[in-house]
Amino acid sequence: MLISRASERRGARTRGIVGLALLVLAAPALRGAQPARPAKEPRSTAPRSLGASGEDFGPQFLGTDGKGKVFLLRAATLEVFALDAAKGLVPAARLKRSPALSAEPAHAAVMGRSSDDWWLLQGAGVWHTTSEGPQALPEVHWRVESLSRLGGGEPVVGVMPFGVGRPIGDRSFAAGDAAPLLLSFSGSAWRVLATEGEIPSSGAVNKEFARINQERMVALAPGATKGLWVADRYRFRVRKLSPAGKVLTSLKGSQEIRLENDKDGKATQRKLVQMGDKAGGAIANLAVPAILGLTEARDGNLYLVTNRNGIALERYDPVAEQVDRLKLQLGYSGRFTMASGSDGLYLAGFGGQTGRWFLSWNTLAAADWRKVEDVEIGGPASRAAQ
Protein backbone atom coordinates (compact mmCIF):
# COMPACT_ATOMS: atom_id res chain seq x y z
CA MET A 1 0.00 0.00 0.00
CA LEU A 2 2.80 2.37 1.02
CA ILE A 3 4.59 1.58 -2.18
CA SER A 4 1.43 2.19 -4.10
CA ARG A 5 0.78 5.64 -2.49
CA ALA A 6 4.40 6.71 -3.09
CA SER A 7 4.05 5.62 -6.69
CA GLU A 8 0.84 7.66 -7.03
CA ARG A 9 2.55 10.74 -5.57
CA ARG A 10 5.51 10.30 -7.95
CA GLY A 11 3.03 9.80 -10.80
CA ALA A 12 1.16 13.02 -9.88
CA ARG A 13 4.46 14.94 -9.63
CA THR A 14 5.62 13.54 -13.00
CA ARG A 15 2.30 14.52 -14.68
CA GLY A 16 2.68 18.04 -13.24
CA ILE A 17 6.24 18.41 -14.60
CA VAL A 18 5.26 17.00 -18.02
CA GLY A 19 2.24 19.33 -18.17
CA LEU A 20 4.42 22.37 -17.33
CA ALA A 21 6.97 21.33 -19.96
CA LEU A 22 4.25 20.93 -22.58
CA LEU A 23 2.90 24.38 -21.69
CA VAL A 24 6.36 25.93 -22.13
CA LEU A 25 6.91 24.09 -25.41
CA ALA A 26 3.46 24.98 -26.71
CA ALA A 27 3.78 28.67 -25.84
CA PRO A 28 5.20 29.75 -29.24
CA ALA A 29 2.44 27.87 -31.01
CA LEU A 30 -0.18 29.50 -28.76
CA ARG A 31 1.33 32.90 -29.53
CA GLY A 32 1.14 31.97 -33.24
CA ALA A 33 -2.54 31.21 -32.86
CA GLN A 34 -3.22 34.83 -31.95
CA PRO A 35 -4.55 37.05 -34.78
CA ALA A 36 -1.73 37.53 -37.34
CA ARG A 37 -0.15 40.97 -37.54
CA PRO A 38 -0.40 42.58 -40.98
CA ALA A 39 2.62 41.72 -43.21
CA LYS A 40 5.28 44.39 -43.29
CA GLU A 41 5.27 46.66 -46.31
CA PRO A 42 7.96 45.52 -48.73
CA ARG A 43 11.16 47.54 -48.54
CA SER A 44 12.07 49.24 -51.78
CA THR A 45 15.55 49.13 -53.30
CA ALA A 46 17.27 52.08 -54.94
CA PRO A 47 19.43 51.12 -57.94
CA ARG A 48 22.80 52.87 -57.90
CA SER A 49 22.95 55.71 -60.42
CA LEU A 50 25.72 55.42 -62.98
CA GLY A 51 25.05 58.95 -64.19
CA ALA A 52 23.17 60.55 -67.03
CA SER A 53 24.31 62.48 -70.04
CA GLY A 54 24.33 66.18 -69.27
CA GLU A 55 23.68 66.93 -72.91
CA ASP A 56 21.06 65.40 -75.15
CA PHE A 57 22.80 62.41 -76.66
CA GLY A 58 19.59 60.81 -77.92
CA PRO A 59 18.66 57.15 -77.46
CA GLN A 60 21.01 54.75 -75.67
CA PHE A 61 20.93 50.96 -75.72
CA LEU A 62 22.65 48.24 -73.69
CA GLY A 63 24.14 44.97 -74.83
CA THR A 64 26.34 42.28 -73.33
CA ASP A 65 29.00 39.94 -74.67
CA GLY A 66 29.49 36.26 -73.89
CA LYS A 67 31.60 37.06 -70.81
CA GLY A 68 29.02 39.30 -69.17
CA LYS A 69 30.73 42.56 -70.10
CA VAL A 70 28.17 45.32 -70.67
CA PHE A 71 28.28 47.86 -73.52
CA LEU A 72 26.26 50.97 -74.28
CA LEU A 73 25.52 52.35 -77.75
CA ARG A 74 24.70 56.04 -78.23
CA ALA A 75 22.60 55.81 -81.37
CA ALA A 76 22.94 59.48 -82.32
CA THR A 77 26.75 59.35 -82.55
CA LEU A 78 27.23 55.59 -82.99
CA GLU A 79 29.74 55.62 -80.13
CA VAL A 80 30.06 52.42 -78.11
CA PHE A 81 31.20 52.43 -74.47
CA ALA A 82 31.97 49.70 -72.00
CA LEU A 83 29.67 50.30 -69.02
CA ASP A 84 31.22 49.35 -65.72
CA ALA A 85 29.72 49.83 -62.24
CA ALA A 86 33.10 51.05 -60.94
CA LYS A 87 34.48 52.96 -63.93
CA GLY A 88 31.32 54.26 -65.60
CA LEU A 89 31.48 54.76 -69.37
CA VAL A 90 34.74 53.80 -71.08
CA PRO A 91 35.06 54.36 -74.86
CA ALA A 92 35.17 51.02 -76.68
CA ALA A 93 34.34 51.52 -80.38
CA ARG A 94 32.97 53.95 -82.90
CA LEU A 95 30.75 52.63 -85.66
CA LYS A 96 30.85 54.17 -89.12
CA ARG A 97 27.98 56.48 -89.99
CA SER A 98 26.20 57.17 -93.25
CA PRO A 99 23.90 60.10 -94.15
CA ALA A 100 20.95 57.74 -94.72
CA LEU A 101 21.34 56.13 -91.32
CA SER A 102 21.86 59.26 -89.25
CA ALA A 103 18.86 61.12 -90.75
CA GLU A 104 16.27 59.00 -88.91
CA PRO A 105 15.53 58.60 -85.19
CA ALA A 106 16.57 55.30 -83.58
CA HIS A 107 13.82 53.30 -81.85
CA ALA A 108 15.67 50.14 -80.78
CA ALA A 109 19.06 48.45 -81.02
CA VAL A 110 20.54 45.11 -80.08
CA MET A 111 24.19 44.12 -79.84
CA GLY A 112 25.57 41.37 -82.06
CA ARG A 113 28.52 39.14 -81.25
CA SER A 114 30.87 41.95 -80.25
CA SER A 115 30.82 45.60 -79.15
CA ASP A 116 31.34 46.84 -82.73
CA ASP A 117 28.45 44.81 -84.14
CA TRP A 118 24.92 46.23 -83.65
CA TRP A 119 21.51 45.94 -85.27
CA LEU A 120 19.42 49.13 -85.27
CA LEU A 121 15.78 49.95 -85.88
CA GLN A 122 16.18 53.43 -87.25
CA GLY A 123 13.27 55.24 -88.90
CA ALA A 124 11.21 52.59 -90.66
CA GLY A 125 14.13 50.30 -91.49
CA VAL A 126 16.55 47.83 -89.93
CA TRP A 127 20.30 48.35 -90.24
CA HIS A 128 23.34 46.26 -89.43
CA THR A 129 26.17 48.53 -88.30
CA THR A 130 29.76 47.50 -87.79
CA SER A 131 33.12 49.26 -87.79
CA GLU A 132 33.09 48.75 -91.59
CA GLY A 133 29.89 50.77 -92.03
CA PRO A 134 26.10 50.44 -91.93
CA GLN A 135 24.17 48.13 -94.18
CA ALA A 136 20.40 48.40 -94.73
CA LEU A 137 18.50 45.13 -94.48
CA PRO A 138 15.74 44.41 -97.04
CA GLU A 139 12.40 46.10 -96.38
CA VAL A 140 10.22 44.19 -93.93
CA HIS A 141 6.95 45.27 -95.66
CA TRP A 142 5.13 45.44 -92.30
CA ARG A 143 5.31 48.34 -89.83
CA VAL A 144 8.26 47.43 -87.59
CA GLU A 145 7.85 48.33 -83.92
CA SER A 146 10.58 46.47 -82.03
CA LEU A 147 13.90 44.73 -82.63
CA SER A 148 15.99 42.04 -80.96
CA ARG A 149 17.92 38.85 -81.77
CA LEU A 150 17.22 35.19 -81.34
CA GLY A 151 19.68 34.29 -78.54
CA GLY A 152 23.11 34.42 -80.14
CA GLY A 153 21.68 34.51 -83.65
CA GLU A 154 19.71 36.33 -86.27
CA PRO A 155 17.78 39.62 -85.83
CA VAL A 156 14.05 39.54 -85.11
CA VAL A 157 11.49 42.32 -85.48
CA GLY A 158 8.06 42.77 -83.88
CA VAL A 159 5.54 44.12 -86.40
CA MET A 160 2.08 45.63 -86.59
CA PRO A 161 -0.41 43.96 -88.95
CA PHE A 162 -0.22 46.86 -91.39
CA GLY A 163 1.46 46.42 -94.78
CA VAL A 164 4.15 49.05 -95.45
CA GLY A 165 5.83 50.14 -98.68
CA ARG A 166 3.77 47.75 -100.78
CA PRO A 167 2.64 48.52 -104.31
CA ILE A 168 -0.91 49.81 -104.73
CA GLY A 169 -3.20 46.89 -105.47
CA ASP A 170 -0.97 44.44 -103.60
CA ARG A 171 -3.03 41.26 -103.05
CA SER A 172 -0.48 39.26 -101.06
CA PHE A 173 -2.50 39.56 -97.82
CA ALA A 174 -6.10 40.23 -96.82
CA ALA A 175 -8.19 40.85 -93.74
CA GLY A 176 -8.72 37.59 -91.85
CA ASP A 177 -5.31 36.11 -92.77
CA ALA A 178 -3.02 35.14 -89.88
CA ALA A 179 -1.28 38.35 -88.78
CA PRO A 180 2.51 38.22 -88.44
CA LEU A 181 3.80 39.26 -85.01
CA LEU A 182 7.51 38.44 -85.36
CA LEU A 183 9.77 38.06 -88.37
CA SER A 184 13.36 36.86 -88.35
CA PHE A 185 16.08 37.58 -90.89
CA SER A 186 17.66 34.51 -92.39
CA GLY A 187 20.57 36.31 -94.07
CA SER A 188 18.77 37.12 -97.31
CA ALA A 189 15.07 37.58 -96.49
CA TRP A 190 12.58 38.10 -93.66
CA ARG A 191 10.43 35.12 -92.72
CA VAL A 192 7.48 34.91 -90.33
CA LEU A 193 8.56 33.50 -86.97
CA ALA A 194 5.24 33.85 -85.12
CA THR A 195 1.73 35.00 -85.90
CA GLU A 196 -0.98 36.31 -83.61
CA GLY A 197 -4.65 36.85 -84.40
CA GLU A 198 -5.87 38.01 -87.76
CA ILE A 199 -5.11 40.92 -90.05
CA PRO A 200 -7.85 43.46 -89.20
CA SER A 201 -10.28 44.73 -91.79
CA SER A 202 -9.90 48.34 -92.91
CA GLY A 203 -13.11 49.09 -90.97
CA ALA A 204 -11.58 47.70 -87.77
CA VAL A 205 -8.41 49.72 -88.42
CA ASN A 206 -10.51 52.88 -88.66
CA LYS A 207 -12.53 52.16 -85.52
CA GLU A 208 -9.98 50.51 -83.23
CA PHE A 209 -6.64 51.85 -84.37
CA ALA A 210 -5.28 52.64 -80.89
CA ARG A 211 -6.41 49.31 -79.40
CA ILE A 212 -4.86 47.27 -82.25
CA ASN A 213 -1.57 49.11 -81.78
CA GLN A 214 -1.62 48.80 -77.98
CA GLU A 215 -2.42 45.07 -77.98
CA ARG A 216 0.41 44.26 -80.37
CA MET A 217 3.26 46.44 -79.12
CA VAL A 218 5.92 44.15 -77.69
CA ALA A 219 9.28 44.45 -75.96
CA LEU A 220 11.81 41.83 -77.06
CA ALA A 221 14.95 40.40 -75.47
CA PRO A 222 17.26 37.60 -76.62
CA GLY A 223 17.35 34.38 -74.64
CA ALA A 224 20.68 34.02 -72.79
CA THR A 225 21.64 31.03 -74.89
CA LYS A 226 18.87 30.68 -77.47
CA GLY A 227 15.31 31.70 -78.21
CA LEU A 228 13.56 34.98 -77.61
CA TRP A 229 11.51 36.67 -74.87
CA VAL A 230 8.41 38.54 -76.04
CA ALA A 231 6.56 40.83 -73.61
CA ASP A 232 3.40 42.82 -74.29
CA ARG A 233 4.05 46.50 -73.56
CA TYR A 234 0.64 47.34 -72.10
CA ARG A 235 -0.42 44.20 -70.21
CA PHE A 236 1.40 41.52 -68.27
CA ARG A 237 1.90 38.76 -70.82
CA VAL A 238 5.38 37.35 -71.45
CA ARG A 239 6.41 34.39 -73.58
CA LYS A 240 9.67 32.64 -74.34
CA LEU A 241 9.84 31.33 -77.89
CA SER A 242 12.15 28.69 -79.32
CA PRO A 243 14.24 29.57 -82.40
CA ALA A 244 11.44 27.95 -84.42
CA GLY A 245 8.80 30.22 -82.84
CA LYS A 246 7.29 27.62 -80.49
CA VAL A 247 6.07 28.87 -77.09
CA LEU A 248 8.29 27.34 -74.37
CA THR A 249 7.10 29.36 -71.36
CA SER A 250 4.35 31.86 -70.74
CA LEU A 251 3.63 34.25 -67.86
CA LYS A 252 0.21 35.82 -67.73
CA GLY A 253 -1.06 38.47 -65.30
CA SER A 254 -3.87 40.97 -65.71
CA GLN A 255 -4.82 41.33 -69.36
CA GLU A 256 -6.48 44.70 -68.88
CA ILE A 257 -4.88 47.61 -70.72
CA ARG A 258 -4.94 50.51 -68.24
CA LEU A 259 -5.66 53.94 -69.63
CA GLU A 260 -4.66 57.24 -68.10
CA ASN A 261 -7.75 58.32 -66.21
CA ASP A 262 -6.58 61.73 -65.15
CA LYS A 263 -8.53 64.74 -66.32
CA ASP A 264 -5.66 65.96 -68.46
CA GLY A 265 -5.47 62.64 -70.30
CA LYS A 266 -9.14 62.73 -71.25
CA ALA A 267 -8.90 66.33 -72.33
CA THR A 268 -5.89 65.44 -74.47
CA GLN A 269 -7.79 62.70 -76.22
CA ARG A 270 -10.83 64.92 -76.88
CA LYS A 271 -8.71 67.68 -78.35
CA LEU A 272 -6.70 65.28 -80.50
CA VAL A 273 -9.87 63.70 -81.85
CA GLN A 274 -11.22 67.15 -82.72
CA MET A 275 -8.07 67.79 -84.72
CA GLY A 276 -8.76 64.75 -86.91
CA ASP A 277 -11.00 64.49 -89.93
CA LYS A 278 -13.39 61.83 -91.19
CA ALA A 279 -10.69 60.00 -93.13
CA GLY A 280 -8.32 59.63 -90.21
CA GLY A 281 -7.05 61.91 -87.49
CA ALA A 282 -4.76 62.38 -84.57
CA ILE A 283 -5.07 59.75 -81.86
CA ALA A 284 -3.44 60.03 -78.44
CA ASN A 285 -2.03 56.87 -76.89
CA LEU A 286 -3.51 56.93 -73.39
CA ALA A 287 -2.47 53.38 -72.46
CA VAL A 288 -0.18 53.03 -69.43
CA PRO A 289 2.80 50.75 -70.15
CA ALA A 290 2.94 47.63 -67.95
CA ILE A 291 6.33 46.26 -68.99
CA LEU A 292 9.16 48.74 -69.46
CA GLY A 293 12.11 46.45 -70.19
CA LEU A 294 13.45 42.91 -69.78
CA THR A 295 16.57 40.77 -69.94
CA GLU A 296 17.47 37.15 -69.28
CA ALA A 297 20.37 36.63 -66.89
CA ARG A 298 23.07 34.04 -67.48
CA ASP A 299 21.55 31.79 -64.79
CA GLY A 300 18.28 31.61 -66.77
CA ASN A 301 16.28 33.98 -64.56
CA LEU A 302 14.25 36.60 -66.41
CA TYR A 303 14.26 40.16 -65.03
CA LEU A 304 11.60 42.70 -65.99
CA VAL A 305 11.05 46.31 -65.02
CA THR A 306 7.30 46.68 -64.64
CA ASN A 307 4.79 49.36 -63.82
CA ARG A 308 2.08 47.47 -61.95
CA ASN A 309 1.22 49.40 -58.78
CA GLY A 310 4.51 51.27 -58.99
CA ILE A 311 7.87 50.69 -60.62
CA ALA A 312 9.30 47.30 -59.70
CA LEU A 313 11.81 44.70 -60.74
CA GLU A 314 10.16 41.33 -61.29
CA ARG A 315 12.10 38.08 -61.51
CA TYR A 316 10.90 34.85 -63.08
CA ASP A 317 12.80 31.82 -61.81
CA PRO A 318 12.17 28.95 -64.27
CA VAL A 319 13.46 26.32 -61.81
CA ALA A 320 11.18 27.35 -58.92
CA GLU A 321 8.47 28.34 -61.46
CA GLN A 322 7.85 31.47 -59.46
CA VAL A 323 7.68 35.21 -60.04
CA ASP A 324 8.97 37.57 -57.32
CA ARG A 325 8.68 41.34 -57.12
CA LEU A 326 11.00 44.00 -55.73
CA LYS A 327 9.87 47.60 -55.36
CA LEU A 328 12.31 50.04 -56.95
CA GLN A 329 13.04 53.63 -55.97
CA LEU A 330 13.49 55.17 -59.37
CA GLY A 331 12.48 58.58 -60.69
CA TYR A 332 12.04 57.35 -64.26
CA SER A 333 9.18 55.30 -65.68
CA GLY A 334 9.80 55.15 -69.45
CA ARG A 335 11.29 52.38 -71.56
CA PHE A 336 14.50 50.64 -70.46
CA THR A 337 17.10 48.49 -72.05
CA MET A 338 18.61 46.06 -69.58
CA ALA A 339 21.73 43.92 -69.54
CA SER A 340 22.84 41.12 -67.27
CA GLY A 341 26.50 41.71 -66.43
CA SER A 342 28.92 39.45 -64.56
CA ASP A 343 28.62 41.71 -61.48
CA GLY A 344 24.96 42.67 -61.61
CA LEU A 345 22.04 44.04 -63.53
CA TYR A 346 22.44 47.21 -65.63
CA LEU A 347 19.54 49.45 -66.66
CA ALA A 348 19.45 52.37 -69.10
CA GLY A 349 16.56 54.76 -69.74
CA PHE A 350 15.66 55.35 -73.37
CA GLY A 351 17.12 58.86 -73.70
CA GLY A 352 20.73 59.40 -72.63
CA GLN A 353 19.65 62.19 -70.29
CA THR A 354 17.27 59.92 -68.32
CA GLY A 355 20.05 57.90 -66.70
CA ARG A 356 21.79 54.59 -66.18
CA TRP A 357 21.60 52.38 -63.08
CA PHE A 358 23.15 49.31 -61.50
CA LEU A 359 21.99 46.61 -59.07
CA SER A 360 24.72 44.20 -57.94
CA TRP A 361 23.87 40.52 -57.62
CA ASN A 362 24.65 40.83 -53.88
CA THR A 363 22.18 43.71 -53.53
CA LEU A 364 19.55 41.66 -55.34
CA ALA A 365 20.24 38.58 -53.21
CA ALA A 366 19.68 40.56 -50.00
CA ALA A 367 16.69 42.56 -51.25
CA ASP A 368 13.10 42.29 -50.04
CA TRP A 369 11.56 40.18 -52.81
CA ARG A 370 7.89 39.26 -52.47
CA LYS A 371 6.19 36.42 -54.32
CA VAL A 372 3.74 37.52 -57.02
CA GLU A 373 0.57 35.47 -56.75
CA ASP A 374 -1.47 36.76 -59.68
CA VAL A 375 0.69 35.37 -62.50
CA GLU A 376 -0.28 32.23 -64.36
CA ILE A 377 2.80 30.27 -65.43
CA GLY A 378 2.45 27.89 -68.35
CA GLY A 379 4.51 25.80 -70.73
CA PRO A 380 3.93 24.51 -74.24
CA ALA A 381 1.24 22.08 -73.11
CA SER A 382 -0.63 24.71 -71.16
CA ARG A 383 -3.52 26.69 -72.58
CA ALA A 384 -2.03 29.75 -70.91
CA ALA A 385 0.82 29.54 -73.38
CA GLN A 386 -1.45 30.32 -76.31
Binding site: H107, R143, F162, G165, G280, A282, G334, R335, G349, F350
Partner: protein, 65 residues
Protein backbone atom coordinates in the same frame (compact mmCIF):
# COMPACT_ATOMS: atom_id res chain seq x y z
CA UNK B 1 4.01 67.98 -102.38
CA UNK B 2 0.45 66.69 -102.69
CA UNK B 3 -2.46 68.25 -100.79
CA UNK B 4 -2.73 65.14 -98.60
CA UNK B 5 0.95 65.38 -97.65
CA UNK B 6 0.63 69.06 -96.83
CA UNK B 7 -2.32 68.21 -94.57
CA UNK B 8 -0.38 65.40 -92.88
CA UNK B 9 2.69 67.51 -92.24
CA UNK B 10 0.54 70.38 -90.94
CA UNK B 11 -1.41 68.11 -88.65
CA UNK B 12 1.83 66.44 -87.46
CA UNK B 13 3.28 69.81 -86.52
CA UNK B 14 0.04 70.71 -84.73
CA UNK B 15 0.10 67.40 -82.86
CA UNK B 16 3.74 67.73 -81.83
CA UNK B 17 3.22 71.34 -80.70
CA UNK B 18 0.14 70.22 -78.76
CA UNK B 19 1.86 67.27 -77.06
CA UNK B 20 5.14 69.07 -76.34
CA UNK B 21 3.80 71.26 -73.50
CA UNK B 22 2.36 68.17 -71.80
CA UNK B 23 5.77 66.62 -71.29
CA UNK B 24 9.21 68.16 -70.97
CA UNK B 25 10.34 65.83 -73.75
CA UNK B 26 10.57 66.44 -77.46
CA UNK B 27 8.67 64.18 -79.82
CA UNK B 28 10.09 62.30 -82.78
CA UNK B 29 7.90 61.06 -85.59
CA UNK B 30 8.34 58.30 -88.13
CA UNK B 31 5.85 58.06 -90.97
CA UNK B 32 4.75 54.95 -92.90
CA UNK B 33 2.82 54.49 -96.15
CA UNK B 34 0.50 51.70 -95.05
CA UNK B 35 -1.73 49.28 -96.92
CA UNK B 36 -4.64 47.69 -95.03
CA UNK B 37 -5.85 45.45 -97.86
CA UNK B 38 -9.22 45.65 -99.58
CA UNK B 39 -8.33 48.87 -101.41
CA UNK B 40 -7.69 50.86 -98.23
CA UNK B 41 -4.40 52.68 -97.64
CA UNK B 42 -3.14 55.32 -95.26
CA UNK B 43 -0.23 57.30 -93.96
CA UNK B 44 0.55 56.87 -90.28
CA UNK B 45 3.04 58.97 -88.36
CA UNK B 46 4.02 57.42 -85.04
CA UNK B 47 4.80 60.14 -82.48
CA UNK B 48 7.40 59.01 -79.95
CA UNK B 49 8.64 60.73 -76.79
CA UNK B 50 12.39 60.82 -77.32
CA UNK B 51 13.17 60.85 -73.58
CA UNK B 52 11.14 57.80 -72.61
CA UNK B 53 10.77 56.04 -75.98
CA UNK B 54 7.01 55.76 -75.36
CA UNK B 55 4.54 56.09 -78.22
CA UNK B 56 2.50 59.25 -77.46
CA UNK B 57 0.09 58.98 -80.35
CA UNK B 58 -0.49 58.53 -84.04
CA UNK B 59 -1.36 60.84 -86.85
CA UNK B 60 -3.29 59.05 -89.57
CA UNK B 61 -4.67 59.86 -92.96
CA UNK B 62 -6.67 57.28 -94.93
CA UNK B 63 -7.36 57.03 -98.65
CA UNK B 64 -8.58 54.53 -101.20
CA UNK B 65 -5.90 52.78 -103.25
Amino acid sequence: MTKARVLIVGAALALVSFIAPLTPAVADSTCYAENYGGGSCGTTCVITDDHTGEVRGWLTHRYAC
